[in-house]
Subunit: 376 residues, 2 copies
């Protein structure tokens, strides 16, 4: 691979197509073995070609994080779209236009007020939205507690509304990223499904139809070995993986599909530092799961084999400078100014967002460019 | 202002044109009073319209952080361009094309090897580059120590080369961002100029012409009250300012020109959290100068007056969620789902980079869109 990549301008976002294909197939097999419907989250890749690989021969069914993603995927023929961020009135008009353009739009909420507003908007506008009630199963982000009265109140508003169709409940186990070990990750995954199914059962016991139980996050889905009542799995970052996924033990090094190609642009020997041209804008300032005292903004690897280069820490970033602390003087000889490295990011979703497209690598060469759908 | 901004989709990047104009005029006055040439750094704004305001009636002279910026500004008629990131061979060809297209390109280096390669490339290609030697005056990023033999060696290689013109030396006092108080900031600013002038004098004493002494960073330039030998000042972020500049005491609240407009999309009362639709992609994960124990990703303000809203801390960000810790329950009543807030970012350069353009606000309304030149 080395020769073909040495000539590229940097920083550049490289996507290993073979790793993407393996990651896609692995998740499809895993979710099929769980007996769940699979809904890839497109927020990581934001790319028609990558999501095509995520879906394979499955029906076109996606989760999105922005309405711009929804619009682009609808234009490409995907009509079953879940907007997986709590819906607010500022989004209603654009959601209605998506429905009018042929999308089946599912939205999420945990709010009685929002459900009432949405019901009123939908019937006034003559459009129909599917609704999942968002549950907080421990992430402490969005969502009603699974055992709460709020859950039933929101469901009643939705179920009674002409323009809304209650589909069921949705969880996102974001706290899986804080799991200290495999056992804790499994506990979180089991708890996520258990709480989601319980919440759906509470609706059913109240006489409210709730066919769908959508769960997800890459680590919690991959940690789940059986499913007992969930109907749908969502995941996104598994398609690229990153240092956070590696630390959580849900992927191996060979599954790391996304890297940033960078050039060594300086040596500061008196300071024991080496400079690369991947700074904040090329990598993001996301510390991921690196501990406070040993912050690192990515792992510095060789270009050919993606092997970590020893004695280097990407300790700080400025806008266009990566500042590498050199623990071993020999690194200055091994990495003269002008030489190239590849950086595995902490958090692939965020690093990728800085680029308009992927340089797609296959068989060690760049074989194409796949555009991203950035912005809102 | 409130009414006109309430209808906007979010997240949106707002630029207060009046504050930009005041910031631009203030810096031009300050640099003129110092008796220095002013070279705005375009890396913060990456925008023709904003840099036009930075320059005012000064000659078109800029510093850039990417060659894409250089290409866009050259196309707009700016020909005196300093590429203010250590030059590496991967950039030579594109720099040559800029010169051939009419740019006077100045590059920086601290490396004898790079200077030799550049000299050979320039004479082989028949182009001429201006060169400033980068000095490390304490930031421990790029640059030769001002008192080093390396400084003289690089200067000799450049001065002896047919295709290179030695212009002098350049400093960037990035360590000014670590100044604990005003006195330390002033000390760093004085030291930056003193070391830069000393290094240029060392070249002159060795018989090498070094007319230019370029210094800069917003905080160090604004902290300097007189100049004694420097010839040029560079600064960029002063045009927008941000929480870091406010903490360093180099701007006031009325000088904060850049904010992110965001919508409240959820309440999680059991968790004491409020959710907004400005997450990592809308704000960046840059912690700026916030202390470890009280990390915050921006200051949450009201839409009308940019007054900080009490009892709220933007404690964490996910990709499209801002997670606000609520210290005062009343905030849930004051900020119902659907209401809007404005966020002052920690680090304006990085937050702005997520957006393709600015929504330009004047007299309380959006009066236009100014595009940004993102990417490399």
């Amino acid at each position: 691979m080395e020769a073909a990549l040495q000539g590229l301008e940097t920083p550049e976002l490289l996507l290993d197509a073979e790793a993407v294909e393996r990651n896609a197939a692995r998740m499809r097999r895993h979710v099929a073995a769980l007996g769940l419907r699979f809904r890839p989250h497109v927020k990581t890749a934001k790319c028609l070609e990558v999501v095509g690989l995520m879906l394979g021969d499955l029906p076109g069914r996606i989760a999105v994080s922005t309405l711009r993603e929804a619009e682009a995927f609808l234009a490409a023929g995907v009509t079953d779209i879940l907007y997986a961020v709590g819906v607010a009135p500022v989004r209603f008009e654009r959601l209605a236009r998506l429905v009018e353009a042929g999308a089946g739009m599912t939205v999420i909420t945990d709010s009685v007020d929002v459900a009432r507003h949405l019901a009123s908007f939908a019937s006034g506008r003559g459009v129909t939205f599917d609704v999942l009630i968002e549950l907080d199963v421990g992430a402490k982000r969005g969502g009603a507690p699974p055992g709460s009265a709020t859950l039933l109140e929101v469901a009643q508003v939705v179920a009674a509304s002409e323009g809304l169709r209650l589909r069921g409940v949705l969880t996102h186990a974001g706290h899986a990223y804080g799991a200290g070990d495999r056992a804790e990750l499994q506990r979180i995954a089991l708890d996520e499904e258990r709480l989601a199914v319980w919440a759906a059962d509470r609706l059913r016991e109240a006489g409210i139809a709730a066919p769908d139980v959508s769960i997800g996050s890459t680590p919690s889905i991959l940690a789940l070995e059986t499913a007992c009542g969930a109907t749908e799995a969502r995941a996104g970052v598994y398609i690229f993986n990153d240092l956070d996924q590696l630390k959580l033990g849900v992927c191996g090094r060979e599954d790391l599909a996304l890297t940033v190609l960078s050039t060594v642009i300086g040596h500061n020997r008196p300071a024991g530092r080496l400079l690369i041209d991947a700074g904040i804008l090329a990598l993001s300032k996301d510390r991921g799961l690196t501990p406070e005292g040993e912050v690192s903004y990515g792992e510095i690897c060789d270009v050919a084999g993606l092997a970590p280069l020893p004695g280097l820490r990407l300790a700080n970033l400025n806008q266009e400078h990566g500042i590498v602390e050199v623990q071993d003087e020999a690194a200055f000889e091994r990495l003269p100014v002008g030489s190239k490295v590849r950086i595995v990011p902490n958090h692939a979703c965020i690093t990728a967002a800085a680029y308009p497209s992927y340089a797609v690598v296959r068989g060690g060469r760049v074989v194409g460019r796949w555009p991203r759908i950035n912005g809102w």
